[in-house]
Symmetry: C2
Subunit: 212 residues, 2 copies
């Protein structure tokens, strides 16, 4: 543990087996789905022997749960810490996802595993609840009349965009962003301005934010 991580260009095979397995999981579970990714293929991509993989993770189910827990630690939560944006702008920035964002891995896991008791499904619930709480908190800062309601509504829009993008195979995030703009303005009592007509699109600054 002394030589810690051996620099940015990680060595191909050797000591960092666990991290390589998790890295391969992120790639393969996203690209192929969980059920269609076998442990043999996963270990081959990770360049880790299967025996070693099973010494770090008791089962594939546990690996899937850990894969969700470790999923890109700084995806969306980063949006909520942007002090350069107003609370309202932060809520809208949530919908500034890159054009081709894969299906939210939490939704994917919940659907693929199809078992609410599965550790990964439980964590997916926790994560989704946490995101909604963050949105609620920001909605409160933004002065929403009913922050819990707005937070839950925005969370539903994010999930809807993700699911619909997956089914239609075309980006639905802008549609969700347009709805968000309407319901945000509707939920925050305007100090002076009029409540916006119809052509409502998120015309804020381009924000490089990912995740769902």
């Amino acid at each position: 543990m002394t030589e810690l991580e051996k620099g940015p260009q990680g060595q191909r095979r050797g000591r960092g087996a666990r991290e390589r397995v998790l890295g391969a999981s992120q790639q393969l579970f996203r690209d192929q789905g969980i059920n269609r990714t076998g442990m043999d293929q996963l270990c081959a991509v990770a360049q880790v022997s299967k025996r070693t993989a099973y010494q770090h993770f008791a089962s594939k189910d546990e690996l899937v749960a850990e894969y969700l827990r470790r999923f890109d630690p700084d995806v969306m939560p980063g949006v909520f810490d942007r002090t350069d944006l107003t609370p309202r702008e932060r809520l809208l920035a949530t919908f500034e996802l890159p054009a081709s964002t894969p299906l939210c891995p939490y939704i994917a896991a919940a659907v693929e595993l199809h078992d609410p008791q599965h550790p990964a499904s439980q964590y997916a619930r926790d994560y989704k609840t946490a995101i909604a709480a963050r949105l609620t908190e920001t909605a409160r800062e933004a002065g929403a009349t009913n922050p819990e309601q707005l937070g839950e509504q925005l969370a539903l829009l994010l999930d809807g965009a993700s699911a619909r993008t997956q089914v239609l195979n075309s980006d639905s995030v802008p549609t969700a962003a347009a709805i968000a703009a309407v319901i945000i303005d509707n939920a925050i009592p305007a100090p002076s301005a009029q409540p916006t007509g119809e052509r409502v699109t998120t015309g804020s600054a381009p924000v490089p934010v990912r995740g769902q």
Copy 2:
């Protein structure tokens, strides 16, 4: 083919093999998911020999596609034909789903199969597009300024409710309905009334309608 269907109480085993297979598909694919349902179990539930099942469906993939095509022919489309409702009420009635509605099978199939080229995934796209078109049409009747936009937005809300219900394991349809009420009112230029404050819930008549 003359004795057609043999009455309401279908005979257990015998001539109606194809329909029994499709019936078992609807039950098992919904309850267990597609990937977790093997053909052996499916044929056992359908009380059809596996050999016969494969004489009606060339492969499981084809069965899945046909299962989607046959999925409860009168689920949601029925809402759009209710002449006793105004167009706006019809749009809102779309969200009057029973408390515990399973995940939309089209979303489930698209996520589980994880292949946009799969026949079932293609049909899921077609179906989702058709529903959006119906919503758009109704939105136009309701006098929406931008019917295409409103139709697509409502479709996204339905998908979001379905996906989020699956992940959270708790009903998200009312949340989607509340959003729908807001964006519908926002998209239809009000003849005289004010554009609604905040406490917007679908207070229409209870309509027994299912599907997504």
